[in-house]
Structure formats: C-alpha cells, structure tokens
Symmetry: C5
Subunit: 324 residues, 5 copies
C-alpha cells in the first residue's frame, strides 16, 4: 500500500498529489528537490512499479518484499539500502514485537517500506515537515528522522522489560511460594532477540556517523553520531538485562531451594513433635505385670501432662530456631 508520495523542494513539501510515475522525474527536477514515497507492506506488484520507476537493485528489492532482514546498510552502485528493525513491547504477553523499515535512498528520492506495527511513520513525516532547515539536507535528513524514531521507540521496550525484571525480582525474593523460572526464561529469550536487533544496528549507524556518503548531506553526521550514541546506551542496557536475567535465574534456584527446605523443616518438626507422645504412650502400653506407674491413681493425668509439656517445649524450641 502506498501511504504517501510527495516532492520536497528546498525543505518544504510541494502541494498537490503526486503520481508514482511522475515521481522519479519530479525528484530530479533540481538539486534541492527529492521525492519521498512511503509504502506499508507492499505487494510484489505494488513494489515492482516502484522498482521500475527508480531502477532499484534486484537484491535489495527481494529483501524489501520478503522482510525478515537484519539491520544493515548496503551501498548498491550510487544508491543506499538501509534496513531497520522496529520494536514494540506487548506487555500482557511480555513479548517484543518486531517490525521492519527499509529505505532505498538515491539521488533525488527516498523510498520507505514499512512492515509490522511498530514505529508509525506518519508522525515522523509531519514532524520533519515542520523543520524545513533540516529537510533541506535532503534524503539523509529523512533517513535520520526515521532512524531517530526507531531508536526512540526502543526506549519503551527497555522500560517494559525493566518493569518486568523488577516484578520478577520481587517475586524471586518474596516469601511466597512462586517459581518464576518460566517467566525469567521467556524474558531472557525476548531480551536475546531484542539484543540481536540493537547490536546489529550499531555498525551501520557508526558508518553513517563517520564515513561521508555522497548521498548524505555533510551536516548530517553529528546527528547520526547522536543517534548512535543513544543506541549504544540502549544496547548496553539490553546487555545488562541479559546479565541480570542470568543471575536471577541462578538466584531463583537458591530461593526455591531455600523455600523447599523451609517446607520440609516445618513438616519434619511436626512429625518430630508427634513422635514423642507416641513413644511415651508406647511405653505405658507395655504389658509388664510389675509396672508400678500403671497403678498410681495420678499416673494417667501425669503422663498426659508430661506429653503436653514435652510437645510444647519442642514447639517452643522449633519456633525459636525458626523452623516453625
């Protein structure tokens, strides 16, 4: 689906609707113009007309339609192909939902293809249309605006995971009987996958920040450096999560083991308490003919008192040592 298609001249949008077949022409009209086409999950046919219009490389096109790429920056001849991984956190399922954005950047045009639900681009277009001094820098500015948004959208994912880790920590170290091993493991799985997305983007962004590309306006690198820096922060956070989840899985084993022992100690203590009157009763149940206590008139209540006393003393002792 073609979402939007517009020409930008000297930093501002030329009014009116632009047809696809006019796009290439319009973008080439002069040096300070470019066309920005936005597509959402295009079909092979839809994309094919774009491909022909801008003469895109067959390999990049294949990637754009099939999605499931890793973040990368490729240079095909005099055009750039950028793949970004978008992410959003679906809190109820504690799952990171990934999407993709591909950009084809050439002389006078930028084609943006979005797959998946994360990172809405309409807002990005609107925001940058309000910054003509930025938009004047051409397709590189569009690339920056989109990359910036994608990396910004990683932050809620970080917060979501952080929240869940804190919940899991509380669960692990609480007195309750829960065993969040499955939840920890599933979180780790998500974090590993998220890490793959953030770590792979570091190198392309670093190249955009360092190496000058002909297609990128020379004012842009500091901006890419800034996003790169932001991404490093996100990435370090994700790596910390990985370490923490490994530690917490181990701590959980200790806690589960400790709680198990508390259970066993408690029941063992009760069994030990019950064993004493049973033993005493056994003694007074023996059938010896010469058994003086049995004939005492206060024998029975005395024994009952002894039993109760011993049981109570044991109970206090177990209580005192924290077993009950």
């Amino acid at each position: 689906m073609i979402v939007d298609c517009a020409v930008y001249e000297k930093g501002s949008r030329r009014p009116g609707r632009l047809e696809l077949h006019e796009a290439h022409e319009a973008g080439r009209s002069d040096d300070e113009s470019f066309v920005w086409i936005g597509l959402y999950e295009p079909t092979a046919e839809e994309f094919d007309s774009v491909r022909r219009e801008f003469n895109l490389h067959e390999l990049a096109v294949e990637d754009a339609v099939h999605a499931h790429q890793r973040p990368k920056l490729e240079q095909y001849g005099d055009s750039l192909f950028v793949v970004l991984k978008t992410a959003r956190y679906v809190d109820p399922e504690e799952v990171v939902d990934f999407g993709e954005i591909m950009l084809f950047i050439g002389q006078g045009f930028v084609v943006v293809v979005r797959h998946g639900q994360a990172t809405e681009l309409r807002g990005v277009r609107r925001a940058i249309e309000n910054r003509p001094e930025m938009l004047r820098c051409g397709p590189g500015a569009v690339l920056f605006a989109i990359v910036d948004q994608v990396v910004d959208d990683y932050v809620p994912v970080i917060h979501g995971v952080d929240n869940d880790i804190q919940e899991v920590e509380a669960q692990v170290f609480s007195a309750g009987n829960g065993n969040p091993a499955e939840r920890i493991y599933k979180l780790k799985r998500e974090v590993l996958e998220f890490h793959r997305a953030t770590a792979s983007l570091l190198e392309p962004l670093d190249r955009l920040a360092r190496r000058p590309f002909d297609l990128i306006h020379p004012d842009m690198p500091p901006y890419f450096r800034d996003v790169h820096d932001h991404l490093i922060r996100v990435n370090e956070q994700v790596e910390t999560f990985r370490d923490l989840l490994t530690s917490i899985l181990e701590a959980n084993l200790t806690q589960v083991s400790v709680r198990q022992n508390e259970d066993m100690r408690r029941i063992s203590a009760w069994v030990a308490i019950a064993a004493v009157p049973t033993m005493i009763a056994g003694i007074y149940g023996m059938n010896f003919e010469h058994f003086p206590e049995l004939e005492w008139s206060f024998g029975y209540p005395l024994v009952l008192t002894v039993m109760a006393t011993v049981c109570y003393a044991l109970y206090r002792a177990f209580r005192g040592s924290g077993w009950l």
Copy 2:
C-alpha cells in the same frame, strides 16, 4: 562418480556430451566459455584423472578426496579452492547431518565435488541454466549459486532446531514429571557443531564480498554480500540457540528440583496425617488402671470421631497451602 560435465558458452550450455579429456581444452576455447564438472564422492582414481586434466594443486586434491575439511577459501597460484559444509536436519534423531562441497575454480573451469547427502546440486545447475545473464559471469556465478543453495539449506536446520527447542521448553515448564536434560544436552551438542560450520564460513564469504578476485566477475560481489548477510543471520540464530540451551539446562534444574519438592511434600503430608491417629491410639492403648475415658461407653466412637476430624482438618490445611 562424475555426475555431469558440460561447457557453457556466453551463458548457455553447449549441447551434446563432453568427455573429461576434452574438458580443459573446451573451457579454454574463448574467454566467455567455461567447463563445469560435477562429481559425487569420487574415488581416488576418478579424481586423479580430473586432477591431471586441470593440473590442480596436490594439497587441495588431498582435501577433496578425504573430505572432513572446515569451510575455507584458499588461493593456490591462479586458482581458487573453496570448501563448504552442507547440513540437513534429521528430525527423528534430532541430529544435524553434515556433508561437504568442494569447488576448484580456475580460468575456464569449475570442478565441484560433493560428499554426503545434504544440498542436492542438480537443482542448482538447472536453476542457473535458466538465468543466462547470470551464467555469463562465468565460474564465479556457479560458486555463487552453490554457496547460496548451501546457506539456504541451513534454514530448515534452523527451523528444525527451533521446533525442538520449543518442544523442550514446553516439556521443561509443563507440570509433568519428565526430565529432558539429555535431550537438551544432545541438542546443544548439535548446535555447537552446526555453529562451527556456519561461523567458519563467514570469513571466506566476507572475502568474496569484499576483495576482488581475478576469477570472479566484478558484478558478483554484491551477490556474495547478500549471501554473507544471510549467513550472518543464520549464525546469529545459532548463537542465540546456544545461549537459550544453556539457560534452559539451568531452568530445567530448577523445575526438576521444584517438582521433586512437590513429591516430597505430598508424601510428607500423608505421613503427617497418619501420625495423628497413631499417636491418639497409642494414648488410649496405655494400660493405666485409673483411666476414666476407657470406661465411658461413648469413648471409642468419640475417639474415632476426633481422629477423623483431626485428619480431615489436616487434609484441608495441606490442601489449602497447596501441598496436596
């Protein structure tokens, strides 16, 4: 066994059967021709005649017959020697079955030796014969087509392992009494071996994508870069599997320990319930002469009722705390 032997001129196959001893000559007829010979697990004698025909380096030849190489790309004088590791997933045994493909590439010829069952090459030859514009690029195109197929064939292995990991996860976190430790371990063993195959191929592919070789047509590098990228994805997935399997082995220990404890708690609870009537019965089994309750006519039913009540109360309590 010589599977096929053909001359390609300007991107299309010259009809008719080609004998081995004519091959070298035929490939050198003009600049746009080359010979493509396919062998399957050749004997030393079969290979020896190929070696003499194309004057291959003794070290490469030794590798080709003995197999059990690691993926690599070697340059011997003006010819290239490439080793690829093929893989297929044998699901019933959860085992990755490896094979090997070696390519000898020189001016006007490409010799392909296949060992093992994975990655059938007949389809590759047929597919590329339908793309004359690609085949025109010479032996480098054949190399690309085969590498591409080999890496594509890694994907079903990834899916197979992923499926099994998901099954194992379900097993670990289910309520059942299974202990999939052995299965996890065996999967990890396969993943480690598979990782060796994929990781070692990265460097040769990267060289093909970057460094220009005289034997490789200058249009080919972007294609190799594409396969390289695909391989990175496969490789990252394999590394994630490794991490996941390590975590799941640990999670499994926790789960086994938790289930063990549930077993012990259940039986301990029953023993505790049985201890109470035993104790009470012991008391009323004592032989004191002065024992008022024994003479009460409702003594026996009363005691039975007390026993039943206490046991039921304990049962409810254990039930409530999740022990039974």
Copy 3:
C-alpha cells in the same frame, strides 16, 4: 542555577562579579584568558541564555538539559563536549547513586553543568585556583581537574562495594542460617551499572591522553594519561567484583544446600532415636499369653534401661559423626 561565573587571566581569577552576557566577550579578550561558568541542574531557560552566549550546538544542549547520557567526548566543529558520570555510594541502601557532569569547552570558555549530588565541584574550583601554573593551561586544565575529581570519587564507591562484598562473604561462609542471595543479587545489579559508567569513560580519556586537541594545552596529555591509568585500575576492580559476585552466588547455593542438609540430618537423627523406644515398647505391648519377660519382676526397669542405653548410644554415634 548558575553557581559561579569567572574570568581567569594567566592562571589567576580576575576579581569581581561577571555577568553572563559579558562572559563570551571576557573569555576572548586575549589568548591566555578564559571564562569558567558553573551551572547546577539548570532549567531550559537558564541554559538557553548560556547557549546563545556561547553558540553551542543544539544536539549537545539537548543532552545537557535532559541528562541521562553515557560518558562521552564529542567534537562539534571547534568545540568539545564531554559527559562524565559521577557516582557516590549510599551505604545504608547499598546503592550507587549516579549524577552527571557535562562540559562544553571552546576557545576561551568552559561551561560546566552538573546534575545529581555526587562530586561537589566547588572544592575542585578552589583547589585549581591555588595552582596558577596549571590554570594557565586554560580550559583543558579545568577539564583535567574535574575528570580527576570524578575518577577519585569512584574510589569510595569501590571501597563501599568491597566492604559489602566482604560482609556478604562472611555471611555466606558463616555457620548461621542466613541466605544473602538477594543482597548478592542487588550488589551485582549495582556493580553492573557502575561498570557501565567506568567502562564507557575509558575510551574518551584514552583519546584525551593520546590525540592532541587544539583546545587542550600540549602539557595536559600526561595528566590525562595518569587519570586514564587510575580509571583502568578502578575498572579492573569493578570487573573483579562482577566475577566475585558471580562466584559467591554459586558458593551461596552450595552453602545453603549444606546447611539445609545439616538441618535435615539433625531432625532425622532425633526421629531415628525416638523410633527405637517406640519399637521396643511396641514389642512389649503385644498381647501374647506366653510372654515370659512380662512376668519378670525386673522386666519393666530392664526394658527402660535398654531403651535409654540404646538411645544414648545412638545419640553418641550421631554426635560422633557430626549429625547432632
């Protein structure tokens, strides 16, 4: 809040109060002068006037107001932007409290923005004002003095964590029943975060020690090398902490498991001791008509003696093998 604003000429402070709008002018008066402005958690408006006065880059400004940066050193045109992470150890909560210091360094000025409570800068200013030969080196000397203070302030954090690790070690290997798993985990969490701060500062400091910047006086690099060296030491210590905490988490599991077993053995031993008189009493409680011992006049005391003897023997045996 503007904390201080002063001009330094040839290494000494020009007396009198300097208004912000005069600052840029004053710093440029001659080559050996510069302005040093200190701000504490400025509002956007406060900072905006500084920005306009010194014409700072918009990206750096955004960072300065929002804080939550990672340590870095950026060059924007002919000015430097440095972010430092300050840290102090809040011992009662065993938490590392982070702050930030940003420096904007340009020809003739240095703007210092501090966030958070750690690393008071008033003392730094006073100390360097007493070393005119250092201050003569210009803004680079201010940068050095502040970085030096920031890294020095990491040392009490190291000592605090070290203390707590030693306490935790004592707890883990003591005979007591404590389970410091939560404390170990929380410490590890703090150490991981602290490591992120120290490790990220290594690279910027290394650049200051190696690469000559126009804005940094050529006498300064050895000083930065010295701080860099100090930071490496801090960083190595932090990494050792990480390793130690991982080991201690595992050692704790062993210790908890050993202590659990001691508990279970003790109670099992008592149950075993109680089982013996119960069994003997059971035997003499049987109702056989022909039961010679029951008629012996010394039967009852004899049996009691046997019971006591066996129990005592068991008690000694358990004592001897360390179970009680």
Copy 4:
C-alpha cells in the same frame, strides 16, 4: 643423545657418518646443502657442543635444555627458533602426556631437539627422505614435515578425548547410580591444558603461512597454510570439548539430583505403606471397655484383610505414578 646427524644435498642424503664438528662446514658447502641434526633430551654438555658448532643464541639454548616452553616462533638475527608442543593420549589414565620439539633453523642447518615420548621423529625423517623434491626446499621442508607430524599426532588425542566424553555422556544419562563428576572434571582439566598447546601454535603457524622468511623456501607457505588449517580444526574441536564438558557437568548435577529424588521417593513410599497398618493396629490396640469390633469373632481376620488391601492399593498407586 644425538640420534642422527646427516648432510642433505639436492634433496638426497649424503651417505656415510657425519661427525658433529664437521657439521657446520658440511651444511655450508653449497647453497643446496644442509645439515640435519636430531637430539633426544640432550644433556647440557651435549647441547653445548652443538651450540658452539652453530653459534646459537644463548636465550634459545636455555629454552632448549630446560624444556617447558610454550609453542612459539622466534627470530634471532638470521636464524629461526621454533618450539612445538607434542601430545599423546594415555587412555587408561585419561591423561594427555605432553612433550616438546625445538628446532633451530639457520643457513644450511636444522637442529631438532625432542623432549618427552610423543611424536617419534625417526619416521618423519625416513618419510621425507623419500620425497627428494620436497627435501630440496631445504630446512623449511624439515620444519614442515615435523610440524605436520606434530599436528597429525593431535588427532588421536582428539579421538581419545571424544571417546571418553561419549562414555561419560552415556554414564551421566544412564539409569545407574554413578556420579562421574570427578571424571568430567579431570577430563576438563586435560582439555584445558591441551587447548593451551593447540591455541598457542596457531599464531606461529599463521606467520609461517603468510610472512615470507628468508630461510623458508618460497614454495613452502601453502604447505604451512594447510597444516595451519588442520590445526584450526583441531583447535575448534578442543574448544567444543570445553563447552561440552561444562554443559555435561551441569547436566550431571541435574541427573544426580533426579536419581536422588527417585531414591527418596521410593523409601518414602515404603514408609507410607508401613504407616497404614501401624495406625490401624494402634486403633485396635486401644483399651476401651466398650469396643464392639474387638468382640466380633471375625474382627481380627477382617482387620488383617483391610490392612493388606490398603497396603496393596497404596503399592499399586505408587507403582502407577512411577514412585516404586
């Protein structure tokens, strides 16, 4: 002990016995000659005469007599000094037995010193004497032949360890009560030591394969590259062993824990079964005067039947749930 001392001219051995003091002279007679001296664990005196004859560097000499070096390749002036670590697997003790081979290579001579039992060199000399075209390449060919043999001799070690790991796996996942923790640990210890030997050799071999040395014939590098490749394979295998042994140590803990629980469940089940008749018997052992069942003539057999039935039912239940 001097094992052998011979001059090789144009690829073939000059007949007759060569005395040590003639050696240097003989090796320098013309460009295509060299002397090859083999020593086995020489005494300091024996080696001293060799040292004087060939004027070897004092540091290299010290290494040669004391052994216990790590694999390395040093260039002293115009001579090369190579240390190789030999290995053989002593299967009964599951121990890797290391030896050392040092080579001093100079213009017209190669001195080979062997320590320890692994990698017999007599066969190497005989084999290369049958390949005059190789031997013609001079001392570099001798170096290649020996390195090749040393790396080939790593393969039986790999196979030996692999076998033992498979045995250990079988032991860990069998139903038996064994605990191979010690064996796993000892294997890991050997693997770590073996890894040190193989990993340290990679860099010297890589240098021989890449950098041209004056003393090494220009035809040799592809051969060294081949050995290097072989060594990488060995080394990867060793690293996989390390990973596997770490995993199996952990899997073993799970298995031991599972088997422990099976033991405890079994005995607990029997105790639970025994508790039931004890409880019932206790009830009918009470001394109530009004106790109707006791007077029933079929009371005793009925109770016995009830006991047997309950016990059998419990037995079946435990059986069914896999506890017995």
Copy 5:
C-alpha cells in the same frame, strides 16, 4: 630508605661510596656510565631529594611514593617510568602478597623504588654485577634484570596455587564430609587478583620487546621478548586456574549434594528397618478377643524371629543396593 647507590662504568661498579647529590653528575660523566639508586619504601622527604637530583616528573613521583599502581610503562619526555607488581605466596593463609617496584630510567641513571616484601633486589644487583657484558648495555639491562626476577618470582606463586588446587580437588572428590566451598572461593579471589597483576604487565613487556626506545640498548629487545614469553606462560596458567576453580566450585556442589543424599538414604534405610517390627508389634498388640496366634505357646518367639528375619533381610537389601 636508600639501600644502595653506585656508578657503573663500562659494565663494572666504580668502587667507593657515592653520595646522592653527586649521583646525577656521576651518571652523566661519559656515555657508558650510569648511576643505579635503590630505595626501599622511601618517605616523601627521602624521595624528594632524589626527585630534585634527577628532575623526575611530578606525576611519576606521586605514584612512586603512594604505591598501589598497576603495572605500566610510561614515557615522560625523554625518561621512562615502569611499574611492576611483585608477588609472593603466603602458603599458610593461601594468600598472594603483592608488592611494587617502580623504575625511573633516564639518560645515565636508573632509580629503583621497592615497596612490600616480595622480590628481594640485592641478589639481582649482585648477579648482574657479575655479567659485565650485560651491564655494559646500561639502564636497560638493569630493567631487564629486575623484570626477569619479578616474573621468575611469579613461578612459586603458580606452584603454590597449583598445590592448593590439587589439595582442593582431592578434598572435593574424596569420600569425606568436607565442604571446601569457602577455600575454593578464597583461592579464586586470589587468582583473580594475581591475574590482574600478570595480565597488565603483558602490554608493557610487549612494547619493550618490539618498539625500540632510545634509552634501551638495541641488544636488549630479544631479552625482553624472552621474559614476555615467560610471562605469557604464567598468565595462561593463571587463566587456566580461573577456569578450573569455576569448574571445581560447580563439581563441589554436585559432590556435596551426592554426599548429602548418601546421608539421607542411610538414615531413611534405618527408619524403614525400624518401621517393620513396630508395625508387626502393633498388630499383635491389638485387643481382639478372638486372636488365635496370641494363644499359641510359640507365638511370641515366632514373631520375634519374623521381626529379626525381616529386619535382617531389609538390611541385606539396603546393603546390596549401596544404601548402607
């Protein structure tokens, strides 16, 4: 404390006592002379006179008095500053005791400052005074002699730790009840700290072996390369220790768990044995009026025999399965 102060000319010590204030002059007398001053834990005043005499850099001086540096090699102008970490193993406490040696090397002088007890330098001075051909190389030879001694003194530490690891292994895998978790952990702590000392020295030694310094005689690099190689060996050994101690901590957990289970099985077996006569006795303690066995005259001895037989059979069974 100034330990020694002497001038060396052309490789031999000039006789007579040299005062500090004459030292700088004496070392500069001609190109082949230098002064060697040795200090042991100097006070700030003592060192200050040395500093003034040789005009040392303030940063290096601060390091020399405060100690607690990491191994490093710094170049201040035309002089070198080297920090070495000395180590000795205090076996009774299983602790590595660290000291420091700092060297200031300049044209015609070398100042050596030692802190701590490890690595006595008197012997080093005496030994090198006996090698005039070495001493002729100037201050670089002194540096070599000291570094060589420091690295040699690491070897007894390695042996000490190795011994203790072997003791710990024996303890872990013995049948005894010990739990060396604390000892393993403490050893690991020492090994981590020792590793920091050895690993940080690698880079400075590598630079001495590779890069030519004006102050270091061109004959020295091979000697430094030799020490560097020695240090790599030490360092690899330390890293192996780290890996081994991690594995042994885990193996210990398994062993402790196995021994715990053996304890529990033993006591459970005895409880099971005791449960049988209790149960039988309970049955014959029932008060049924019609109870034929009770009237049999051989009833009591028969029951006792049955009890003994069953107990003995159980005992044999438990014995056979290894529980007792």
